[in-house]
Symmetry: C2
Subunit: 320 residues, 2 copies
């Protein structure tokens, strides 16, 4: 920029004005500057500009893993918002390792990102407190953040699917199909709460053995249907059941849709939600907050939808 200035025989400030399209420059001066920029192949250093400006126009996304389609979908929604607001995105993945979450988040904060979108790992997120105090906006996605034993309330938003409602819908669907002994495979408290609500609403009592199933021994489980809390478990269940004879099979409902689910055999009913919407919502929450919207931090639940598939292929449940 200094070189451009001297070549165009103007002050630094004038170059800055031309580069930023600020008014108050004679066409002749401007063209002289433009010429010098062209000659020298000048490209403004955005990082330097942002240092002076105070913000970085950068957000950071911390994912579980890029092998997780939900993370990719969240990213897509996020990117829409990011693009339309002129931000750039740092990203990284944790592989569910909480120390990597911390390392990544702090590295991004050291680069002074304006905000962070985090798929929380199981560890504590307390390392974030000084950062949020320093002005970094944070939003957790897909899952609620770990609740600290000390009860520290993180100044952050959360965006996730309506798990409870999803559990309710899934189990109600299975009950309507005639199932009575319904299993639960997973760990989400909210989803399990939905399961329990639907059972209770139908006057059924869940045997504790049904809700503490293990994917590997699913073939011997005393249930005719099972609700899987996430894609990994759904796939695990499908693989186990695929090896069984027709008669040994059970109905599977998975939380979270996935590609090719309609081609999978036996057909798979899923509780679907839109992870892209989660990303978009999180991005918009962040952008609004960065623009100075000081509303209290909150949790946003996106709606879920039951997609019944291939239920006709299932063996009839044992009772009515």
């Amino acid at each position: 920029m200094k070189d451009v200035a001297s070549r165009a025989r103007v002050a630094l400030k004038t170059v800055s004005r031309v580069v930023n399209g600020e008014p108050g420059v004679t066409p002749e001066t401007a063209s002289r500057v433009l010429g010098a920029i062209e000659d020298l192949g000048f490209r403004r250093n955005e990082s330097a500009r942002l240092l002076r400006t105070g913000r970085t126009a950068t957000l950071g996304f911390i994912a579980d893993s890029w092998a997780n389609p939900d993370c990719s979908a969240v990213y897509r929604g996020l990117e829409e918002v990011v693009r339309s607001h002129g931000y750039l995105l740092y990203s990284g993945s944790t592989d569910s390792d909480s120390s990597r979450e911390e390392l990544l988040a702090l590295a991004m904060c050291a680069r002074r990102v304006d905000g962070l979108i985090i798929t929380p790992t199981a560890g504590s997120h307390d390392y974030l407190v000084p950062e949020t105090e320093a002005g970094v906006a944070a939003v957790f996605v897909l899952r609620p953040p770990t609740i600290d034993l000390a009860g520290t309330v993180l100044p952050a938003d959360t965006v996730l699917p309506d798990e409870r409602g999803g559990g309710r819908a899934a189990v109600a669907h299975l009950i309507a199909q005639g199932h009575r002994r319904i299993g639960f495979l997973g760990e989400s408290p909210q989803l399990l709460a939905g399961y329990a609500e639907a059972m209770k609403a139908a006057g059924l009592t869940a045997d504790p053995a049904w809700t503490t199933l293990d994917a590997s021994s699913l073939d011997h489980a005393p249930v005719t249907a099972v609700l899987c809390a996430d894609r990994t478990r759904t796939e695990g269940a499908l693989h186990v059941l695929a090896g069984l004879a027709e008669s040994g099979r059970m109905a599977v409902v998975g939380f979270g849709d996935f590609e090719l689910a309609d081609l999978v055999s036996p057909g798979l009913t899923v509780v679907s939600y839109d992870p892209t919407l989660i990303g978009r919502t999180a991005g918009e929450l962040l952008v609004r907050r960065l623009a100075g919207d000081g509303i209290p931090h909150r949790t946003v639940e996106v709606p879920v939808r039951l997609i019944p598939r291939g239920s006709a292929e299932f063996p009839p449940p044992d009772t009515h």
Copy 2:
């Protein structure tokens, strides 16, 4: 940092020394500085440091789309390298829109990334020339970059699967199974070259109609087997064929493995390659180049492997 210095009653330089763990500071002075850092909640601004240092320790990854599992896998490989070398990653996706590729790449360059990993779109990449001249290292992944009509040779590396070898293996496999009329669905010249080589090696002549198939009319195609050049086309073919009677089906070989391929019905043979390895290779190439390795730019092909699956389910081919 200025505040820390004055609170610890030392010069700026001394704070810098403590923060960077440089030698030559009395334990007393150091602890005084550390105390001030603690009191003030000081966190060094990495961006400012990098501005002064000249490099940014940042790479940029430009993907097709996060819905493309290959891109996610490349990212994973890349991240391994990036993490172990202390880089951070900017990322964004193009949705195959060349203007978005350019916008993203230039935005990253304006932030002065040290290097760029690009999944090339169909457009020209000439916009990169000034950037590479300015010192940005670039590597294309998964596909070769668009060849410019003017014949400009981009100073960049390329890392992709051995498509030609894959095409050869796929078609040789189908021929060994008794197929003679084999179709090709896609546009990759290298893959088609492999197809042609295998046909020729078996003394077969490909009807032009076989290599210009359309996914939508696949059910009427005059072939008993088809090689699909990418996941999108493979899925398209599977969906079309899934609607057909047993007798109307044909053998499908897909270029690129995907999750659940083993559950898909009809069974799917694929030419598999490791996109994570592509990412890792690209990352290492870049890191080495940034470390000053001035070897000529080159194209690296990663090996492919044929995974036969479910072929027994296919109807027998019409000739021997």
